[in-house]
Subunit: 294 residues, 2 copies
């Protein structure tokens, strides 16, 4: 596995690989790799000739009161894990290499950010879109892999690629979970022992919501989810939402997919989880229409 | 010369050309081509294997009270001129092709836009940077050519390419001028006969300013330029400025280059012009320091 820290070296290496017709698969990460990241690398390995993994804790996507400084880091362990998962290149630039000066230009995300994490993490997705724009130009991927645990991120990245005509295919991959259903996340290490047990109720609340949605409307279901999470965890429920996906707007009959998403703040970790399902409101709302005929 | 209107076709054509090792030179324009544009194409012809010219009047870079609707257009004439200048591909998408929906993401320009045209044309450079981000992904140029008549645009594009790590070399080319010194521009057709004669004083004011700058400071020189333009034209002097280039900040001893720039509003045309020179304030300001010793 090649280790690269400089942008120019990364660009040069990739342009040589692409000249010989190779397809590049890219897994951008903030490091502290877990099974979720490794599953993206393994997926990339099946579809691409050269697998590039980046590790960069991007200051632009952290708010002033967020956990940039204490975000967990372990480069030596990450190197070993990426190597074992089949990465061909590990790109880990430092902050000065990525942002030598206060930037002249940044990307602004104007849609898909007024709900869920975008509502409380103002500017977060601008930072994500900006760093990915840079990374896509540095790594020139044919395929880029993202975990659907961060479904809003995948929606924003799809918008970025579509609107800016990036010649990149975005591949959202299913969330990897612990045996009790907890979505894997680098931030899970912040949980206390008790919180770790409670945290399985996030995924439980999503599965229950899917059933509640068959009998009630989305507003009712959101309220039931809050109640469930408040009863089963000590955390603060930041949101429990049902929206269209990937638009992240209030769902309507026309929405093809729905996302059911939650965010819960524990003492030192803010956890998120979601499931994306076919629009089951279609049936229900058509039912309502039939009723309203008489 | 190949005529292309669809993004996917353009991307496909270029990826085939690049696969065979060809270098791509790109001249993005808003059409209504003049000698200035043609000189960019001729320059590109010397350095690249495939010359792509785009024509797209980009709505995103026009303000609500600007001249988007009446911006001059003549596609048939442009086709002929581009062909004669040696273009290999003319890419002219329509607005729906470039912006099928309200965009999720746009580029925000945070520096180099508080002065000159950026001050009055709010959002203009965001629109320029957004459309160029798209066009760079559609055309994949190795070299992109811009006229230095729009020097602020070149400064912003250089910031865009540097900050976003685009694998593109930006080449700013000298302003082409009519025999009386008027900088060539698609908007010159808007001038009345009298205004057309007066308009040569824009370039005259720049040359005079360079001399005034040797004897006075930049503030004094700016005032003299306004006076000169007010005396010699019927237009409204929107700005006359001396700034560091490409930063577009108040000049200091450390500035390597200076830009002397003017914008004058005539009845139906707003004209701009500039010259970029080595920092002659260095000498002068060191002189001042010597004086202040006693």
């Amino acid at each position: 596995m090649k280790l690269i820290t400089r942008i120019k070296e990364m660009q040069h290496f990739i342009s040589e690989e692409k000249r010989s017709g190779k397809k590049v698969g890219f897994v951008p990460t903030m490091g502290y790799l877990h099974e979720g990241h490794l599953s993206l690398m393994k997926r990339a390995k099946k579809e691409s000739d050269v697998i590039v993994v980046s590790i960069f804790v991007n200051p632009l996507q952290f708010g002033p009161n967020e956990d940039f400084d204490r975000y967990p880091r372990d480069l030596e362990r990450d190197k070993q894990l990426a190597l074992e998962a089949g990465a061909d290149v590990l790109f880990f630039p430092d902050t000065k290499e990525m942002y030598p000066d206060e930037p002249v230009v940044t990307v602004s995300v104007n849609k898909r950010v007024d709900a869920l994490c975008g509502e409380s993490r103002v500017g977060h997705f601008d930072g994500v879109a900006t760093v990915l724009t840079k990374l896509f130009h540095i790594v020139s991927p044919d395929y880029a892999y993202f975990g659907l645990k961060d479904a809003q991120q995948v929606a924003v990245v799809q918008g970025l690629v579509d609107d800016f005509n990036f010649p990149v295919k975005v591949i959202g991959c299913e969330t990897k979970r612990e045996s009790d259903g907890l979505a894997m996340s680098s931030r899970n290490v912040y949980l206390t022992e008790i919180e770790r047990k409670e945290a399985s109720h996030l995924s439980q609340s999503l599965l229950k919501a899917k059933n509640w949605l068959l009998d009630g409307d989305s507003g009712e279901t959101e309220q039931k989810m809050i109640k469930y999470l408040e009863e089963h965890t000590s955390g603060f429920v930041e949101y429990s939402k049902i929206l269209s996906y990937p638009e992240l707007l209030p769902p309507s009959k026309k929405s093809k997919k729905l996302i059911i998403a939650v965010a819960v703040k524990f003492s030192k970790a803010r956890l998120i989880d979601n499931i994306i399902i076919d629009n089951i409101l279609t049936r229900q709302e058509s039912g309502e229409e039939t009723c309203s005929v008489h």
